[in-house]
């Protein structure tokens, strides 16, 4: 096996192993955080208000208290919770009285579709536009790109969302204003429901990526190796797309990585505005309702996702810049 490949495998394994303590630490944090938040899970589970404590028959309260293992020391509770969580058992939702895993899994596909579609839109808009703006520096194209970035960063997502709903759903009636339809049920309706929220989210992220992409690309264009490549007589398009683009992607990959995690778990406002049944909306509703098991499961999902995305970002770094894997190895 060639040395660079060996180094890459070693680098990948090292990064993968580092994920385990990170996730474990987060599980401890999530568990402790839930314990210190006010609210009695037994009362919630029994459907009583927090001021009803004296109305609940003692035997019922005590039985539920034991069933939830709240009578055990906190470290023991944690181990039980972790053991169950590893088997996909996060308990039952306090609010809905159904298994948490069912509630969470019912939201995962919608979240993945929205996140992926938004990311694709963001990359499709930002990378070519960023390259174009850098190449056409200080022309109308560059000014247009700067205007787009300014708009994307300055305008709140919920406002932009309201505007697109008004135009495309209410005035034109082309697209639905709310909801989600699974693709297996009706693919065309699935796309129609996805377009508006994905576009609003995607353009917001695109503005962020474009800013970095343009600056980095511009920076690379002034490097010696570009001048050398051109002096050697390489075609301009080849220099741009093969050499400059690859080197300018390091910062872009970081921004894409950060935004991927955000898109897959932090699009609460857009999900609320479009009444889209994603995980972010579920988390907010669970927090309001003190639905502890759901909060734990969703936060854990989001954290694991961030860790995995970061892992892949690290791998892409190493691919784009071999010095990174050499240094680690």
């Amino acid at each position: 096996m060639a040395a660079p490949t060996k180094r890459m495998i070693r680098y990948t394994l090292l990064r993968a192993l580092q994920m385990i303590p990170t996730v474990l630490l987060v599980t401890v944090a999530v568990f402790v955080l839930i314990i210190i938040i006010p609210g009695d899970p037994v009362l919630s589970m029994l459907g009583y208000y927090a001021d009803d404590v004296t109305a609940v028959p003692h035997e019922i309260y005590d039985r539920m208290f034991r069933e939830l293992r709240l009578d055990r020391p906190i470290p023991v509770q944690y181990l039980y919770w972790l053991g169950d969580a590893l088997q996909g058992d996060f308990g039952k939702s306090v609010v809905f009285r159904v298994p948490v895993i069912d509630v969470v899994l019912s939201r995962v596909p919608a979240t993945l579709y929205l996140g992926t579609a938004s990311l694709l839109i963001a990359i499709a808009v930002s990378v070519p536009f960023g390259v174009w703006a850098a190449v056409k520096n200080d022309t109308w194209v560059d000014h247009l790109a700067s205007g787009f970035v300014l708009f994307g960063i300055a305008v709140p997502g919920f406002w932009f969302g309201m505007i697109v709903i008004l135009v495309f759903a209410i005035y034109l009636g082309w697209l639905p204003s709310i909801g989600y339809v699974p693709p297996q049920e009706d693919f065309l309706r699935f796309l129609k429901h996805l377009i508006l929220p994905a576009t609003v989210l995607g353009l917001d992220v695109a503005a962020n990526i474009l800013r970095f992409q343009r600056t980095d690309f511009l920076d690379q264009l002034h490097q010696d190796y570009v001048r050398t490549a051109r002096a050697k007589g390489l075609p301009g398009q080849l220099v741009i797309w093969k050499h400059v683009l690859k080197n300018s992607l390091i910062a872009t990959v970081t921004v894409v990585g950060l935004n991927t995690a955000r898109l897959l778990g932090g699009s609460t406002i857009i999900e609320t505005l479009f009444s889209y049944p994603g995980l972010s909306r579920l988390l907010i509703e669970a927090i309001y309702a003190r639905d502890f098991p759901v909060i734990q499961a969703v936060v854990l999902w989001m954290v694991v996702l961030v860790v995995i995305v970061n892992f892949f970002v690290d791998l892409i770094y190493a691919y784009l810049n071999p010095r990174i894997r050499y240094a680690t190895a």
């Binding site: 029994l46 208000y49 927090a50 759903a169 003190r290």
Partner: protein, 538 residues
């Protein structure tokens, strides 16, 4: 004309009359049974799925857990109460056809409505009633209504398949009113619940309502289909879907875009735009008495424990101005959670001072109490009107009161309420025909399992006064007792201050939705109409 001819003519007339009567009866009969027997009008109207943008979701699939407002309104599609109010506040039988108390109302005999079927096809009988109430009354089952019903019912027994006798723990003249909510009295088939407290595996137990459960995706939607054998005739709508849209703006947009046919809790400004014709194709209706807002004072609180401070707070407020500012001009300032122009209001306010705003006297009272601007917390939920809280804080500040608004989510709100960790509490109220029944949880200190007093107030004389209310068979007597309760609570002890009704909640529906009647509050139905009589114009 000979006798035979006359007889023939009479017979012919009788035959024609009989045939005509048969035709008329067929056309006028309720829409039940198979499609072939349904009248033409029904056939024209039937069909379609009504999509409702709902501000909240159903909480559980269990019929006997605690219900919250919208949760209950959704469940009322599949489960029904024993009795129900109409829009005018009159009580009607639903699952019961009639009821009769004994001389002192310590026993109640209910005649069941005949021909009521559960969604599983079985007929509802007294055995189902006895089983359902025994289930609630068994503390091991953890039913939420256990607290209220065990304070009323000692024993339930079946007299015959269509008659049930309730033996009460004492005289309970208002028992049929208690059974007007599904939480206190829905009926499920015998043996249909079991297992762990509050948990349901699979579908919820069958109900008797006009729509039957299809599926529920928590936080997303609840779906029902028409129940063909509904006792009051099959609904016109083929299906009913509650889409959970928690955001007001999103609900309004969805209604405008036609993504939903109906939506609840819309902004007054939206309704105003519809009224002015700036938004077309939609109708709106304000919910009269959408919710009453009132302040409770913690009588065990450091400062609010002093009656002079409580009085100072009350006279620092201008009710009219508070309602104008807090409800954005769409409210009714009233001191009590009863309908305007009702005998309840007249009896309640008869001995109630008007409490005109008097900042100077408020300052004097605070000075006498030794209060010097120490913070007083106003416990309120996030869902309540922040503008109302701000109006109260600002007005009270003019008298030197330092009220700090604390909007929190409901779990913390109730936790603070339970611990008495508040100075003032902003609470909702609603009118359900018998206002005296609502006061139990607020002031009764210890009475069976109904054990709490929101204000921390504890007085056996008050307990006795409030407890006498549900025992009075005569309405006039209850009105009189209510007047006494109000005097004690609002005037003598100054533990509560009524602000007014907020009429800032609106239903909206697209023009194609026909013949819908709301409930006496924000329900989707009442005893005489509702979504089961609603149809969609094709």
């Amino acid at each position: 004309m000979n006798l035979r001819k006359r007889c023939n003519i009479v017979s012919m007339f009788m035959l024609v009359a009989w045939l005509a009567a048969a035709v008329v009866l067929t056309l006028a009969s309720p829409a039940t049974g198979d499609a072939a027997s349904k009248p033409e009008a029904w056939e024209k109207r039937q069909g379609g799925t009504l999509i409702i943008g709902s501000s909240k979701d159903m909480n559980t699939k269990h019929p006997f857990t605690r219900v919250t407002s919208v949760d209950e309104f959704i469940k009322m599609m599949m489960w029904e109460s024993i009795t129900m109010y109409d829009l005018a506040g009159n009580l009607h039988g639903m699952l019961a056809e009639s009821w009769e108390p004994n001389a002192d109302a310590s026993e109640w005999t209910f005649k069941l409505r005949r021909g009521v079927k559960f969604h599983n096809g079985a007929e509802m009988t007294s055995a189902d009633w006895v089983w359902s109430y025994d289930y609630i009354l068994n503390p091991a089952n953890g039913a939420y209504a256990n607290t209220v019903l065990s304070d009323n019912i000692a024993k339930v027994e079946a007299v015959d398949p269509y008659t049930v006798k309730f033996t009460m723990v004492g005289p309970r003249a208002l028992f049929p009113h208690v059974l007007s909510s599904i939480q206190n009295g829905t009926i499920v088939p015998k043996g249909s619940l079991g297992g762990k407290v509050g948990e349901i595996e699979g579908n919820p137990p069958p109900g008797t309502g006009p729509f039957q459960f299809v599926n529920w995706t928590p936080g997303t939607q609840v779906e029902f289909k028409r129940f063909e054998d509904y006792w009051d005739g099959a609904p016109y709508l083929e299906g009913l879907r509650f889409r959970i849209i928690t955001n007001k703006a999103a609900r309004q947009n969805a209604l405008r875009a036609g993504d939903v046919d109906m939506a609840d809790r819309l902004r007054p400004s939206f309704a105003e735009r519809v009224k002015k014709g700036r938004i077309t194709g939609i109708q709106t209706r304000a919910v009269g008495g959408a919710g009453f807002r009132q302040l409770y004072f913690n009588t065990k609180g450091k400062w609010t424990g002093d009656k002079r401070v409580r009085e100072a707070i009350i006279i620092s407020l201008d009710r009219e101005a508070t309602v104008e500012e807090g409800f954005l001009g769409v409210g009714d300032p009233l001191p009590l959670a009863v309908p305007p122009d009702s005998d309840w209001l007249r009896a309640g306010t008869a001995n109630l001072p008007s409490y005109e705003r008097d900042v100077k006297r408020a300052r004097q009272l605070l000075k006498e109490a030794g209060y010097n601007g120490e913070p007083l917390s106003l416990n309120m939920t996030l869902g309540q009107e922040v503008a109302l809280g701000e109006a109260i804080v600002r007005q009270a500040a003019e008298a030197g009161l330092n009220i700090k608004m604390a909007p929190v989510e409901s779990t913390i709100f109730y936790e603070r309420l339970g611990k008495g960790d508040f100075s003032l509490l902003m609470s909702s109220g609603r009118f359900r025909g018998e206002p005296g029944l609502e006061e139990t949880i607020n002031y009764v200190c210890e009475k069976g399992k109904v054990r709490r007093s929101r204000t921390g107030y504890c007085n056996p004389a008050m307990d006795a006064l409030i407890s006498s209310y549900p025992t009075a068979s005569d309405r006039a007597e209850r009105v009189r007792i209510y007047g006494k309760i109000v005097k004690a609570v609002f005037a003598d002890e100054m533990m509560q201050y009524g602000i007014g009704w907020s009429n800032n909640r609106n239903f909206g529906w697209r023009n194609k939705v026909k013949d819908w009647q709301r409930g006496p509050g924000q329900e989707y139905r009442n005893a005489l109409g509702g979504l089961h009589r609603t149809w969609i114009e094709k």
